[in-house]
Amino acid sequence: MQKVNQKKKDWFLTPDVFHRLLEWLDGGVDSGGQKYLEMRQRLVAYFDRKNCLTPEELADETLNRVSRRLEEEGTIESESPAKYCYIVARFVFMESLRAPEKKGVPIDDVLLRSNVNAFVQHARDDEREIKEVMLDCLEQCMGGLESVNRDIIIRYYFGEERVKIENRRGLAASLDITMNALAIRACRIRDKLEDCVRKCAVAV
């Protein structure tokens, strides 16, 4: 048992194994790594919704376990790669709850409330600085967007309540797409912006 655990700890993701993981996630249609990125994003979001302190690490741990399974057994029998990733993610989450050093923040813990208060206080103290950095980075990232995407993101989020809804209807009509398709498109552009801003803010 100790040898198995040691073997697991010594395991690391090699390029060949990573490529096999990409192929498995693609399901036969080369997505250029897009499926991997989407899966990782869903894993991060899942662990984040569970209030795990290190959602990105847990997401990587999940994908490492899937990769190791692929390397050891050559194939994985499952309804779909997404279903299998979810199953592994559940196990990883349960283990994280049992591990004291990786315990997630409980929702109704008093500590949470103090963290929130600390967050609010911290936010008030550094609000101006954070806002300036965020604005600078967002301006920069907006400039890197294609003009049509920049136009979409501005028109999609401009206005309040009814005005915003009307704007979105008009925008969908002008693009000749449904509101749902517009929401998805705007969402993707916003995700790109968020990712860009996150990298920019770290660099500042």
Binding site: M39, R42, V44, A45, Y46, D48, R49, N51, P55, E79, S80, A82, K83, C85, Y86, A89, R90, V105, I107, L112, R113, N115, V116, F119, I130, K131, M134, L135, L138, E139, Q140, M142, G143, G144, I153, I154, R155, Y156, Y157, F158, G159, E160, E161, V163, E166, N167, G170, L171, A173, S174, A183, I184, A186, C187, R190, D191, L193, E194, V197, R198
Partner: protein, 357 residues
């Protein structure tokens, strides 16, 4: 309650941690296995965050948001991003249009303000860093150029006075050795004084002796062009001297820029005894303030006269350039073109036909 609305409310409750465990687990799985649900979940989360930023959440939803959603650093980052996006995602943020009204939905074909101030603001609102540096570099170049222009402007009075003298320097094929000119002037000094007393009004030259106003033979009925004065000539005409105001006759005209589509050119009726021809050239809109003019005969385009640096007069769209030419340069029934340039760029051409009566 239709399925979509129920789905949205359930998703919002799921995001706020308010769903029962079994339902929450079902949504967990859907967030992986159902692409459409995953997309809907992402969009709903963004709408929820925007609603919080806009202060639209109230009651239990707001409490749940504060207690559950804000517990995560990653989700708090989304809040900050949404706040910044609300500021930036305004039509006038990058284009400096008028402030949008809260109750008015902007038209789909709404265009940003295109006034000069708006465009200038647009330039400096462009977020691209490389463009910012580019515009800064261009601004610096313009500042240096403006300083040079101011320096040139300070020298203009002297330059204008010496423009005729320096004209031949710019025409390497038509200039005459200065020594030769000086000798001729000296040799003709006395004769010129006598003729100046006798032939009042026939003094065709400017206030100062200039190289392009070499002594002409009055029997030539108008004088010679600069290029004809290469060879030394017999001093058959009086030496130049500054005319007395009463002796100088000036014909003034206003010229407009030559239109490409127009085949007509202006005709300038010049009285025979005219000493100087004053031309006011109406300028096309340009930011240039200092110009140079070159007179060429047509056809052929041979330059026969060249001005120095001349500063435009007037403001806005009513700017003009004032030039003074020796009337003797203009032959009757001859077509000429005045080419106005500045900073190495040709701005306008003014064509006219001289008719000496």
């Amino acid at each position: 309650m239709n399925q979509q609305t129920y789905g949205y409310q359930a998703i919002t409750a799921y995001l706020l941690g308010a769903l029962p465990a079994e339902e929450s687990e079902r949504f967990d799985e859907l967030s992986f296995t159902d692409d459409a649900f995953a997309a809907q979940l992402q969009a709903a989360e963004k709408d929820l965050v925007d609603a919080y930023v806009n202060g639209e959440l109230t009651g239990s939803q707001l409490d749940q948001f504060n207690s559950h959603y804000l517990a995560s650093p990653l989700r708090r980052e989304k809040i900050e991003f949404a706040r910044a996006l609300q500021i930036v995602a305004k039509p006038d943020y990058f284009t400096e249009t008028a402030e949008p009204q809260k109750d008015a939905a902007p038209a789909d074909d709404e265009k940003p303000d295109r006034t000069i101030s708006g465009l200038l603001s647009n330039l400096f609102a462009i977020p691209n860093l490389s463009l910012k540096w580019g515009f800064a570099a261009v601004s610096l170049i313009f500042a240096i150029f403006a300083g040079w222009l101011l320096f040139e402007n300070s020298l203009l009075p002297n330059q204008v006075d010496n423009a005729q003298e320096q004209g031949s320097e710019l025409q390497p094929h038509t200039s005459e050795p200065l020594n030769e000119v000086a000798n001729q002037r000296m040799a003709n000094a006395e004769k010129e004084k006598e003729l100046a007393r006798v032939s009042d009004g026939n003094n065709l030259y400017g206030e100062e002796p200039r190289s392009d106003r070499l002594p002409t033979d009055e029997s030539d009925h108008g004088g010679r062009r600069i290029d004809e004065q290469k060879q030394p000539q017999q001093p058959s005409v009086p030496k130049k001297e500054p005319p007395k105001p009463s002796q100088v006759t000036i014909a003034s005209f206003v010229l407009t820029p030559q239109l490409r589509s127009s085949g007509q050119i202006q005709t300038l009726p010049i009285p025979a005894k005219t000493g100087w021809v004053d031309l006011r050239l109406e300028l096309e809109p340009t930011d240039q303030s200092v110009f140079r003019a070159a007179l060429a005969n047509q056809p052929g385009g041979r330059v026969i006269w060249h001005s120095g640096a001349v500063k435009a007069k007037g403001v806005g769209e009513n700017r003009s350039l004032n030039l003074r030419l020796p009337a003797r340069l203009l032959k009757s029934d001859q077509t000429y073109t005045l080419e106005v340039s500045g900073n190495g760029e040709i701005f306008s051409n003014y064509s006219f036909r001289a008719v000496v009566k």
